[in-house]
Every structure is written in C-alpha cells, then in structure tokens.
Symmetry: C2
Subunit: 209 residues, 2 copies
C-alpha cells in the first residue's frame, strides 16, 4: 500500500506531518507493504514555519499511489495558478484511488474538479476563497463521500488518518493507531470522537466488527 502526502513549499507542518507519523504507524507495527511518502515537486521543501524537509518522492508517483493526501500551506492558490504543477496532479483519480484533502488542500481538489459538488471541509482561514471557488464548504471537521474525504482544522488530521486506515486496512487498525497517539488518560474518548466522524461514512464491508 502506497500513500502519498502531497506537500508543497510553504506547507503547513501539521497538515502533512501529523498524517505521516500516524499513517506510518501501520508500517512500524509490521506491515512491510505499507509505504507513506512525502511527495513534492522539488527534492526539498520548506514549511510555513521554516522547517526544511527532504521529500521522499516527486509528483510522478502520485498516479500510482493507492491514496493521495493533499496537505495545506501558504501557497495553495499559487500552486493552483501554476499550470506546470497542476498538470502533474491530473493523474490522481478517485475512481481508483482514495483522495484526502486537509484544509486548503480542499481548494486543489475543487480546482481539479474532483469534488463533484460534494460537501467538503476546510479551515476557517481558507474558507472564504474555497467557497468563492465554488466548493460547498460545510462547518464540520470531516466529510467523506465515496473515495474522497476532506478535513478542516489542522488537528482534524487524525480524522482523515482514521478514515484512510479504515478504508485501506480496517476499523480495528484505525482504532489501534488512534489509541497509540491519543493523550494518556483520554484514549477512549479520543478514539470515540474520531470514529464518530469516520464510521458513518463507511460501507458495511469496511466495518468488520
């Protein structure tokens, strides 16, 4: 399983890296087929908080991934207005991949025509221009329909992660990962809060228990 986390220069650290750490827990638990990768147009990108990271792969890998998570950042509209970048995103396809977008990442999904009028989430700062672009923004932390999910607010990242793991593995794996990252003494309520978002969006086949 190959999950690409699309990360541009000026990226929001939490929106790409909470997902990286949480999703990769499945690999650390022993799934040798599970690969989580930061995908960027350049070999190194620097966050909005001045953190420079090495990307794991370039954008040519996106179309081959089982899931693509679109991170957020300060330059999302710049990306959307750069044809050379947008061309590299045209290979992503919700009929054969899971697509997840965090905060301003929702804007890119909309600009790529991949939301299809479905209600979507974004953060409060991005909301005005995401709405203006024609996306039906709902005032919630998480929304999913079919193979596309969106989240609003950096620390709604865990809801996108839980959805991705529930869809790519199963709900028990999502529960295990949420348990690991949750604050001590608050684990059950943390898991319950995330699954209350995710479970209603799953088909019966994804919910083993």
């Amino acid at each position: 399983m190959h999950i690409s986390i699309l990360t541009f220069d000026g990226f929001n650290d939490l929106d790409s890296l909470v997902a990286l750490g949480m999703l990769n827990r499945i690999a650390l638990l022993g799934d040798t087929d599970w690969r989580v990768r930061i995908a960027s147009p350049t070999a190194r990108v620097t966050s909005m908080n001045g953190l420079t990271i090495d990307a794991h792969e370039d954008l040519s890998q996106l179309a081959k991934a089982d899931a693509v998570l679109i991170g957020s950042g300060m330059k999302t509209r710049e990306v959307a207005n750069t044809p050379a970048l947008m061309e590299q995103l045209h290979g992503i396809d919700p009929t054969r991949q899971l697509l997840a977008a965090q905060c301003s990442g929702t804007y890119l999904l909309g600009r790529l025509g991949l939301l299809g009028g479905t209600p979507a989430c974004t953060d409060l700062t991005s909301k005005p221009w995401v709405v203006e672009s024609g996306v039906d923004v709902v005032p919630r932390a998480f929304a999913a329909r079919g193979n596309v999910a969106t989240a609003g607010g950096c620390l709604a990242s865990q809801y996108l992660v839980a959805w991705l793991i529930a869809r790519l593995k199963d709900v028990d794996a999502a529960r295990e990962v949420l348990h690991y990252f949750a604050p001590v003494g608050e684990k059950q309520e943390f898991i319950d809060r995330a699954l209350a978002h995710v479970l209603p969006t799953l088909e019966p086949a994804h919910v083993a228990d």
Copy 2:
C-alpha cells in the same frame, strides 16, 4: 523569546513538529521576537518515520533558550547513555528556563535530575522504563509544577504548547493558538480540554482574565 525543541535522530515526528507548528503561530501572528527552533546534535536528523529534516541550531544554544521542549523518539535511552550528548544537556536549568518534556523526553529530564521527585507524564510504551529509572509516572496527559511540565501521548503535545504559551505570553494567546489548530466545529471543546489541564497549574499572575 527563544524556544528550543530538542530533537534527536529517530525522533517521533509528532512530538517535535506539532509543537513547532503550534508554537510558531505566535511568530506568524506578528511577534517578531518569537523564535522556535529545532535543536539537534547534527545538522540533519531523520525521524522514526523516515523524515529527514534540517535542524535550526545545535545543542550549544539550549542553555540560552527561554524554554526547552524535549521531544521523544526511538533512541532516547541511547541518548541518555551517550555522555557526549548528555554533557550538552547539562546547561538546561529550570530555575531560569521553562522545561517541557514529551513522552520519552520525560526520561531525559529524570536522568538529568531535573524532575526532583515531581509526578510526571510519559507515553504507555515508555512508561515501564521511565518508572524503572525512578520517575513518579502519573496516568495523565499533562502535569506541571513550577517551571517543569511533562506530557504523555503524542497528541497531548497541544497541552504542553498551551502551557508554554500561557507562561511565555498569556492565556489569551494560548487560547488563540488552540482555536486556530482545533478541528472546525469542535473548537470550543478543544480549547476547554487543553485549558482544563493547563489553568490549574498556573500562578494567578499568568491568568490575566
């Protein structure tokens, strides 16, 4: 204000980088005196999830920081058993700095003799060997006494962040940062949950409202 986030090779991405992103919000909001820095013994470090980042500063800066946050990772015991590394940590001092430790970072605080018998938090995986080292581990997400705070569970990071901002700025600033990062539609309960941990540990002088 200078906050160093101590980050070693094999680091836990969330434990250093959620704090970096959240703490640096104060700088992005316009405080030009607010600097948040990844402090590492080498110029580049790689996380337990295979993310390579550039450090902002080396360990010689720790003693000069206003606050030091000790991150967590897979090599904490190795660090504690490497005198050349531990020597570089001896300059940190809770009589003139705020000290915060996340998960296995609590072990380093204990080994440095900086917990002074105070109850402390860590994650469930680290707990057995943190207890064995003599630390009084409590089954909670957050604990603070005086200038030292500890947190258990990666996503208790926001409680350490709220404490640091409440102490270095004020409670209103902590509230504003929590609001920004909270999931949409869940912001008030998110803020309340964090402040329920932090407020009881503050002196009246830190609580303007």
